[in-house]
Symmetry: C2
Subunit: 436 residues, 2 copies
């Protein structure tokens, strides 16, 4: 039995700072859980970090700017990485694992792109790699797939896993305002970054879905395997029609598995207003999982922020420490099932909402319907709610029955060529998630 377990922290951002606080303030409770104290030995920082206020509140001897000093320290058992981004985090994690240290990370980009390789590296060196905080902040999402749901064949995951976009969509739905103005407000409130691309274009959600889908389906689902669309082209008129038709608009990360074929995509969707996910508003995250035994389970909580993320990082650290305390090294739980395939986006089947601006003349709907018919897309409803007398423009909203993406893309390009169609204003996929 070890007398204590040493922790090394990489970086001193908001998450690392919070983790350091928890390790200090809850030291007694954590020691009780693990069976021996967890001691923060070193924080590896950049020279400029030493000038930051949180650095000045901690003992100077905790800090080092020297990589070798940090990674060669024999009294560090667990390295915590919460600096984010691919570089240098990936190299740091590799070095930690190669040095025989357990690692805990909150880095979604590194895990999404290199997680499986890192898990293999950990296993090779007889240590563990934990990454609960990489998806959904403090909401348990990785652990359920690793442990609690292992008896299930997972059929589907529907996830709201980006708080920034969910906040923007919630505001657009409530206020009827447009994307640009809500984004600006979200930036002022600190809910969106100055460069919002990572969130609003679905890149962040893409990384998180890659992690969840790889775990759930036990096969490599890489970020580039996931079709991705952001929310910037959504318009207040789409929200108006969604509401009238009984839907909410959410940016969902969706992964499905059927007969060993996986589809994975991140894009805005219409979902029924009475589904659980439709009711998840603001910066909350929610992950809806369907398993053959468990049926539907839903996990909801704050998906970001220093404290929720620290909740997961410290839990992972305690988990690693408990293993070290009783002398267990690597317990590799990710095993690849071979032979699974990723379905190309072209073959994905969904229903569609399409909003068009057309000339307000008799016969226009017939022409449009003909294009859909020729592409074997069946129309569920067509409404022509308003027309502009002055410009002689009619707005037409069409809901289709399930159709293949490829057929829909072809139909859309043909519609654009029709003389009667001024514009295909938008199209949004529809997911028929059941309500509770």
């Amino acid at each position: 039995m070890k007398k204590s377990i040493g922790i090394g922290l990489l970086g001193l951002g908001v998450v690392s700072g919070q983790v350091a606080s928890v390790l200090t303030e809850k030291a007694d409770a954590l020691a009780e859980m693990v069976g021996c104290p967890l001691i923060l030995r070193k924080i590896k920082v950049l020279p400029q970090d030493l000038e930051r206020p949180q650095a000045k509140m901690m003992p100077a001897q905790l800090f080092t700017t020297n990589d070798d000093e940090f990674f060669n320290a024999p009294d560090i058992d667990i390295v915590i990485e919460a600096i984010g981004g691919e570089k240098p985090a990936l190299d740091y994690l590799k070095r930690a694992l190669t040095s025989g240290k357990h690692a805990v990370t909150s880095n979604k980009e590194v895990i999404a792109k290199h997680g499986i390789e890192l898990l293999a590296l950990a296993h090779k060196h007889g240590v563990g790699l934990q990454y609960e905080a990489s998806v959904g902040g403090g909401i348990p999402l990785v652990a359920p797939f690793k442990h609690d749901l292992v008896a299930n064949n997972i059929n589907a995951i529907y996830a709201i896993i980006n708080g920034t976009t969910n906040y923007i969509l919630t505001m657009m739905a409530k206020e009827g305002t447009d994307f640009a103005s809500v984004l600006k407000r979200a930036q002022q409130l600190g809910y969106a970054e100055a460069n919002p691309e990572n969130d609003v274009e679905g890149i962040d959600a893409n990384y998180k879905l890659a992690i969840l889908a790889s775990l759930a389906f036990q096969t490599k689902v890489r970020p580039q395997d996931i079709y991705r669309e952001g929310i910037s082209r959504l318009n207040s008129r789409d929200f108006k029609y969604a509401k009238e038709l009984g839907f909410a608009i959410k940016l969902l990360a969706i992964a499905k598995q059927s007969n060993g074929v996986i589809e994975a995509r991140v894009h805005p969707v219409f979902i029924p207003q009475d589904s659980f996910l439709a009711k998840v508003d603001g910066v909350f995250n929610a992950v809806h999982v369907e398993g053959d035994l468990v049926g539907k389970v839903l996990f909801v909580g704050q998906g970001a922020g220093a404290k929720p993320t620290a909740s997961a990082v410290v839990a992972d650290t305690v988990g690693a420490a408990r293993k070290i305390a009783i002398g267990i090294g690597s317990v590799s739980t990710w095993k690849e099932i071979s032979g699974k395939k990723i379905k190309p986006m072209d073959e994905v089947v969904t229903q569609f909402y399409i909003r068009l601006a057309a000339k307000d003349r008799p016969g226009v709907l017939a022409q449009i319907a003909t294009v859909f018919g020729e592409n074997e897309i069946s129309i569920a409803s067509a409404i022509q709610p308003e027309s502009d007398e002055e410009t002689k423009t009619a707005e037409i909203v069409i809901m289709t029955h399930p159709a293949q993406e490829k057929a829909m893309q072809k139909a859309l390009s043909e519609l654009k060529k029709l003389e009667m169609v001024k514009e295909v204003s938008n199209f949004i996929r529809v997911e028929d998630i059941e309500g509770s």
Copy 2:
């Protein structure tokens, strides 16, 4: 490394039958996860069970009616108990653990009453006891408290953990019908048992809350420590007023912790219509947890049924098997924090809804208000929505500010003595759970 891990099953009810199916049908996948096959060696049944259809579908040599043969079998490593009830399940679990076998149970009554004693027994004999299925079917609820949320001080748990009562309350709210008729329908649909007491009087929820609170607060919260009221005295008029006032009525299991003092109670409550829990309808369960780091997290799913329960039982079995496969015995994770206290119900503070029938005369509200005032209970609103011309009876609905239970009980008994008050028709506590 063991070549295989032997499973023994106690009983052949719906859950055990489902567990046996999963162990057989998913044998390859489970073997892959554990590193060696899980083999169902024996099923201990009563003689009459052998006549049941599911028994006839399995090889006869799997069954035994002999306790000694079952518990002394050297090739059984894990005993699964899903027979329910206190006896003989408790004795069986003790015998399994004492024989050095790991145990997995879905038995809420045994765990609520004897869990801590059984965990100590398991530890003494170097084996594990898993009980994820004892609360909330397949929803991960035990594991989050044991692992994922350990860095948190848990402040509150609000749980809908009985599907039967949630179904009844959902129907009463939707249809405006009374308890008795909805219960009858629930019984016809198989959502309620012929003797519904365990569900409708909150006994089932009480057991489950005892388990969750003991885990969350790391102290013994026994069933008898939990105040309990069922739903049978709820009336359609209460649902009418709840709706008008912006509330839903749910049977909640509530546990809170503040400065080492714990309150735990199961009773119907008014909760804000826009809270997550208000939207959890039908047979779904939902547990809302508040931690100092994680903030609010919510777990939702089907809390009962053979498949969801088997999902948790098999996951626990895989967890136990993984430990056996790498040579780990007991990993005791429940540690009691001493010095915590249970708050007596008399001292609990909530808001209240009170519905009264009074004589329709001037001055009646003044008399009622005086009783509340003398007991230092502050009235938030009083409405007198309807009066019956014929009987000269007025119905009065009062919402209070937070008040102590003891003061409220005293006020209620004084109100009953007022000549002007014909009846205190109902009172329901109000929980101010925030919306999302």
